[in-house]
């Protein structure tokens, strides 16, 4: 589904990604772990189409098509969803209107009819239960006055409504207490499977206790230097990142 090949990305002439390779197939859950400053959020941003990055070499294809030339909204309509590390507050733009407009833009793009208000609301009610999000938050402006945990839950709630094919969760676990983490993980797990792929970008292994990945990748200094299964995450938790770096240096 997603093929990242030798990706080099810089921000303001500073090289952040330095030859990153990653292949994600439908139905898989990949965890990308790494220390601060390794390029994790850059990778998430590049995949979602954030401005300010310069791709200096390499390619990214999504279903065989060049992803990097697509506008962010086209990527969203093609099924890519980014759960933000820091969801922005947008005063004056209503949460529920945004979500309905987003869903219908995606449906129209897929050749489906738009949902009317009744169908949309019943969908919303169902998903709310799943994420345990307070209904009154929906009537507010996007993320305005939300607690940190509510913002993260709102991201997962949007994901549940929009049903992406490729979801990228950028540090979704940061700032969550253990109860909120479980709720978020339950939400993600319920969306797992079928032909949906999920990329979890995380600093800590903690999230992976609740969302068990199929693959774990270690990203340091702009490259994936080691890949493995779930057990790799546990080893990182215990021993840190240094041994992987040393191992890579020797290789």
């Amino acid at each position: 589904m997603l093929n990242i090949n030798n990706l080099h990305v810089s921000i303001d002439n500073k090289q952040i990604l330095k030859g990153l390779n990653l292949a994600v197939q439908a139905g898989e859950v990949h965890a990308i772990m790494g220390p601060n400053g390794s390029g994790k959020s850059t990778l998430a941003g590049v995949l979602a189409g954030r401005a300010g990055y310069t791709v200096t070499a390499g390619s990214v294809t999504y279903d065989g098509r060049d992803l990097l030339t697509m506008e962010p909204e086209i990527r969203a309509r093609e099924g890519i969803f980014l759960a933000f590390q820091y969801p922005v507050e947008i005063p004056g733009v209503n949460n529920i209107y945004l979500l309905k407009a987003a869903l219908n833009a995606i449906r129209v793009h897929r050749g489906l009819s738009e949902l009317d208000a009744v169908d949309f609301l019943s969908l919303v009610r169902n998903k709310l239960k799943l994420i345990k999000l307070k209904e009154d938050l929906l009537g507010r402006s996007v993320n305005e006055g939300f607690s940190g945990g509510e913002k993260k839950r709102n991201e997962i709630f949007q994901m549940a409504i929009l049903e992406p094919r490729l979801a990228i969760l950028d540090e979704t676990d940061s700032g969550l207490d253990i109860d909120a983490l479980k709720v978020v993980a339950d939400g993600v797990n319920s969306l797992r499977g079928g032909d949906r792929a999920i990329i979890l970008v995380t600093h800590y292994q903690r999230l992976l206790n609740y969302i068990v990945p199929d693959y774990v990748h270690v990203l340091t200094d702009g490259r994936i230097i080691k890949s493995g299964g779930r057990e790799l995450a546990l080893k990182l938790e215990e021993h840190g990142y240094d041994w992987v770096r040393e191992e890579a240096a020797v290789a």
């Binding site: 979602a48 954030r50 909204e73 947008i90 209107y97 407009a101 402006s141 996007v142």
Partner: protein
């Protein structure tokens, strides 16, 4: 050019009939003398530093001769607020048209009439309410307004009376072969604990070229409460210079909303004098301009005694080659301890050619006060734009949504629904790509 223009208005003045009350002739004569001496302001004057009035000067607008009522103005249907059960006075091309004026079931003792009518009959009652506020420097426009003083609205609300229905003063300008100037003086007088809502709307036919020169003087006695709205929707070839001058007594409150959407060249002044303890002025404003529009807002609040409050909140959206000016002045006099004054002005520039000159001016001579001010100028927030686009919203719609949301911050402060709704529609019509918002809200 300026000398010729001054001569033009002096000539116009000389043709005025001397039918006004004697005391008013005195005011007029003093004003035209002042005008003769000072002429029109130039950009060398601090108060007009960013606003070039030469487009107004060179046009030699003609004063309106009060004529017989003409046909029903085409513009009326678009701007009347009759549907909301208002008292409404309609002025067309400078004079009040009684045929379209609706004043019904006024509360006991309330007077609401056109100024011309008041001057024709019993004018002595209004004399004390003229020229209550002496603005720092009277401009040529103020002087011309006084010199040609003849028309406007007069509202008097006795002590303890609350006017239930809003009062709508509608000023319309039609397309005319020669460019006309309408000088209006509105006098609003609220007694102790009196309450009223006054809406002034200024509008003109699409291509009409004219000047509106208007001053509203408000005197609020103890605990009086005025909600004042000014909807400036002049034609894009129209010129507008307008002032609200308010004097607030003990515990009296003014909530002003100044909403400036139209006009080729616009200057809005607000001058509020907080003369007794407990007086409070809230000044909200929104200006939206595109193309080659120029819109200048000057506000000034004078805190003269202890325990007074003011809050200014202005936002501007400028597109195309539009130019905005905001000058917010707050003066806290030495004896005005415990003053609470806030002032904020935020501007959104939608194009690289748009420009805003914004300046908060705080002059504080007391030491135990709470004053703050903030000014921002910026483009749309890139993080917000990206967030919306990552949710499948196309870029144009995302930009439009964020722009509308910025303006809505002022609009949402309007608690009178008809005005809020009318304004939302007007604003939506004025911003780029707002039809996309309607789809979004559907």
């Amino acid at each position: 050019m300026s000398e010729a223009a001054v001569a033009h208005y002096l000539d116009q003045y000389a043709r005025l009939p001397q039918s006004a009350p004697v005391w008013l002739n005195g005011i007029r004569a003093a004003a035209i003398d002042q005008f003769r001496r000072t002429g029109f302001p130039s950009m060398r004057q601090e108060d007009w530093k960013y606003t070039d009035v030469r487009p107004i000067i060179k046009r030699n607008f003609l004063s309106v001769a009060a004529g017989a009522d003409a046909a029903r103005p085409e513009l009326l249907d678009g701007y009347t607020m009759q549907a909301w059960d208002c008292h409404e006075l309609v002025f067309v091309n400078g004079s009040c048209r009684s045929a379209y004026t609706h004043i019904r079931d006024l509360e006991q003792g309330v007077i609401l009439r056109s100024l011309a009518e008041v001057l024709r009959h019993d004018a002595t009652g209004i004399q004390p309410y003229f020229e209550q506020v002496h603005a720092k420097s009277q401009s040529a426009f103020d002087n011309l307004n006084s010199a040609f003083l003849a028309e406007g609205a007069y509202l008097y609300v006795p002590d303890g009376v609350c006017i239930e229905k809003p009062i709508h003063l509608l000023f319309l300008a039609e397309q005319r072969p020669e460019p006309l100037v309408g000088h209006f003086r509105n006098l609003l007088v609220l007694g102790k604990q009196a309450r009223a809502t006054v809406i002034e709307t200024y509008a003109g036919a699409d291509s009409a070229e004219y000047l509106t020169n208007t001053i509203t003087e408000y005197t609020g006695a103890a605990s009086a409460h005025l909600r004042h709205y000014k909807l400036q929707q002049e034609s894009l070839r129209g010129f507008h210079v307008g002032s609200l001058r308010a004097t607030l007594g003990r515990d009296s409150e003014l909530v002003s909303h100044s909403l400036s959407l139209g006009g080729a060249l616009v200057r809005n002044n607000i001058h509020a004098e907080l003369t007794e303890t407990g007086a409070a002025a809230t000044l909200n404003g929104l200006y939206i301009a595109g193309g080659k529009q120029h819109v200048d807002n000057h506000t000034c609040v004078e805190h003269r005694v202890p325990h007074t409050t003011s809050a200014g909140f202005y936002r501007g959206v400028l597109d195309g080659n539009a130019r905005g000016v905001f000058n917010g002045r707050v003066v806290v006099h030495a004896q005005a301890q415990k003053t609470d004054a806030q002032l904020s002005n935020a501007n959104l520039l939608l194009s690289s050619q748009a420009e805003i000159d914004t300046k908060p001016e705080l002059e504080i001579y007391a030491d135990d006060v709470k004053c703050s001010h903030g000014t921002t100028v910026g483009q749309l927030d890139e993080n917000m734009l990206f967030y919306l686009r990552s949710r499948a919203i196309d870029e144009k719609t995302a930009r439009s949504l964020l722009t509308f949301a910025f303006a809505e911050d002022v609009i949402n402060r309007i608690d009178f629904k008809p005005v809020r709704e009318r304004l939302e529609l007007s604003v939506a019509g004025k911003l780029p790509d707002t039809e996309l918002i309607r789809n979004f809200m559907a």
